[in-house]
């Protein structure tokens, strides 16, 4: 049983949670807690168990074992669902309804008073740039507009805890930015946000802490910055040249452990970035090359993610 005192300050509590589909274990004995008002990222490669975990937490499916609580109430109970807003992965609004009708339907299903529902819906549609099209059928909306509407539907009940499963996946820049800005402002108003994503930049920009799940097990939980810094040996130097360079020569420079071409730039991984910068300067002079970009890069959250999930792969 989770400790009651600690559970009281936790918006989401997960203890020894497991879910199996036949012989496949989608989620295996996972434990984590999300504090009230925290922006929590849940990262993992495809098929890692992210969506299964979210579906258990939002009461769409039941766990086989373990405990999942939303503000102390069992996940899936009416009480837990009443205080949660959900943006499911690949979900859709009713396309034969207008945005306004979809919002009113959600408000009715959450038992929100009509006047309050109208007021909130107006404010949400305005902040998400949909107000002018509120009476158009959703079937005429673009993907970005539909996703913004689904977020508005999740927020019409003014939930204390918000679950988002890949909310910006495949969206245009404008919609992504609108959604991120709204999420930031919600978190600033002390709303707890549980974000599932495989976009490392998004997690890095938004989350206070992230959990990384791989093959149904949590492999790390920490602040993005701490995870990043804990990834040793992934310092790199980014370099680009104005004229052609032989990539093999770059890979053979002293101190280069790994080598990667990223667009028109090269990422050279090393234990000593300072020394490699000097080596590159010497190399460009002797080879008659002109350096356009030269940056030292610290390990990214993506590096941490790859290191952690890759390590799991190797253990198998």
């Amino acid at each position: 049983m989770p400790n009651v005192a600690s559970v009281n300050s936790e918006a989401i509590t997960v203890r020894k949670l497991s879910k199996r589909y036949g012989v496949v274990t989608a989620v295996k004995d996972i434990n984590f807690a999300v504090k009230e008002g925290e922006f929590f990222g849940f990262l993992g490669p495809n098929g890692a168990g992210k969506t299964t975990t979210v579906r258990i937490l939002t009461g769409v499916i039941e766990a086989d074992d373990g405990v999942a609580l939303i503000r102390g109430s069992s996940a899936g109970s009416i009480k837990a669902k009443q205080i949660a807003g959900v943006v499911p992965e690949m979900a859709n609004a009713y396309i034969d309804f207008s945005a306004w009708s979809n919002l009113m339907l959600m408000a009715d299903l959450y038992g929100i008073a009509s006047s309050q529902a109208k007021e909130r819906s107006q404010a949400l549609l305005k902040s998400l740039g949909l107000f002018d099209r509120k009476d158009s059928l959703v079937k005429t909306y673009s993907k970005g507009m539909r996703q913004r509407l689904i977020l508005a539907m999740a927020l019409v009940s003014d939930p204390e805890v918000l679950f988002l499963d890949e909310p910006t996946s495949g969206l245009d820049v404008q919609s992504t930015r609108l959604i991120k800005d709204l999420l930031r402002s919600l978190n600033a108003r002390s709303k707890t946000i549980f974000l599932t994503t495989h976009d490392m930049d998004e997690a890095n920009q938004l989350c206070d802490r992230v959990a990384i799940i791989n093959k149904g097990s949590i492999v790390a939980i920490d602040a993005p910055e701490k995870l990043r810094m804990a990834t040793r040996g992934r310092n790199s130097v980014e370099v680009s040249f104005s004229n052609g360079v032989n990539p093999r020569h770059l890979a053979q420079l002293p101190g280069v452990k790994e080598f990667e071409k990223v667009g028109d730039k090269y990422h050279l991984y090393t234990d000593d970035p300072g020394k490699l910068v000097a080596t590159l300067a010497d190399y460009s002079r002797t080879a008659g090359l002109k350096i356009v970009t030269l940056n030292i890069l610290a390990p990214s959250l993506e590096d941490a993610f790859v290191a952690l999930t890759g390590k799991e792969e190797r253990h198998d």
Binding site: A84, A91, G111
Partner: protein, 251 residues
């Protein structure tokens, strides 16, 4: 311990789901075709040329239309919802799976009630008299719920393909129509035929309708109503229990 507030809250939300179903699904072409036109033409093809009286025809027509209407859309609402990816959204709302099932049954029932007025008006225009309107009205309401729940049972297999569910529904619906005393009255059936007829809820509704319109029911009304209530309870419980099990497999 049953929490009354939660029960009332879930009933209100079931009505919201029913309203949504009616607005989205019940104003579509297939409803008119499979719910009204199809049973009318099927009925006419078996009755024209047999010199049957309006008193005999109208109870059968009423039974067929109610049966086909209440089971025309209810089986495919769930596959439509999962195909359109709206079901997961609905399941994460503060409603129980049984609330979704009850909401779907209410929508189908309401639609059946509205459409059942059509054969009654046709009958009245043809000069029939309803000797027991209370029994007929009670039977229409009861059968509406019963057939709507049966329709929901058809959609228990967790497929997202409405065509698959329609096929399952048709395999059951057509034989039911032929064994329920619609085209041949119960008293004209052989003993073994009557025993088969007793397995169909439509039999009891048709018998009540004949009793109320022709004064020629085969079974006592108390048996008809008891059987219809029994079928209704069983269908609702099976629909709720099985959908609770299969609903998560739809997403």
């Amino acid at each position: 311990m049953i929490d009354r507030d939660i029960v009332w809250q879930q009933i209100r939300r079931a009505l919201v789901i029913a309203g949504k179903d009616i607005r989205i699904y019940y104003f579509k072409g297939p409803v008119v075709i499979f719910g009204v036109l199809f049973p009318v033409f099927l009925f006419l093809s078996f009755t024209i040329g047999r010199h049957l009286t309006a008193d005999f025809m109208i109870p059968g027509l009423l039974g067929m239309i109610l049966f086909f209407t209440a089971t025309s859309i209810s089986p495919i609402v769930m596959p439509w919802e999962s195909q359109a990816r709206t079901l997961e959204r609905l399941m994460s709302c503060p409603i129980k799976p049984q609330t979704i099932v009850i909401g779907d049954i209410i929508a189908s029932f309401a639609f059946g009630m509205i459409i059942s007025v059509v054969p009654i008006i046709i009958g009245l225009l043809m000069g029939i008299t309803i000797s027991n309107p209370v029994a007929l009205a009670a039977a229409i309401i009861l059968a509406g719920v019963c057939f709507a729940a049966l329709g929901i049972i058809f959609s228990i297999p967790p497929t997202n393909m409405p065509a698959t569910i329609n096929m399952i529904a048709s395999v059951v619906k057509f034989p039911v129509v032929f064994i329920s005393g619609i085209f041949i009255a119960l008293n004209e059936l052989p003993v073994w035929g009557r025993w088969i007829a007793y397995m169909s809820p439509l039999t009891y509704f048709t018998d009540i309708a004949r009793n109320s319109i022709q004064d020629q029911g085969y079974l006592p009304l108390i048996i008809d109503f008891t059987a219809l209530i029994g079928f209704t309870i069983v269908f609702i419980l099976v629909a709720i229990f099985m959908h609770r099990k299969t609903m998560p497999a739809r997403i």
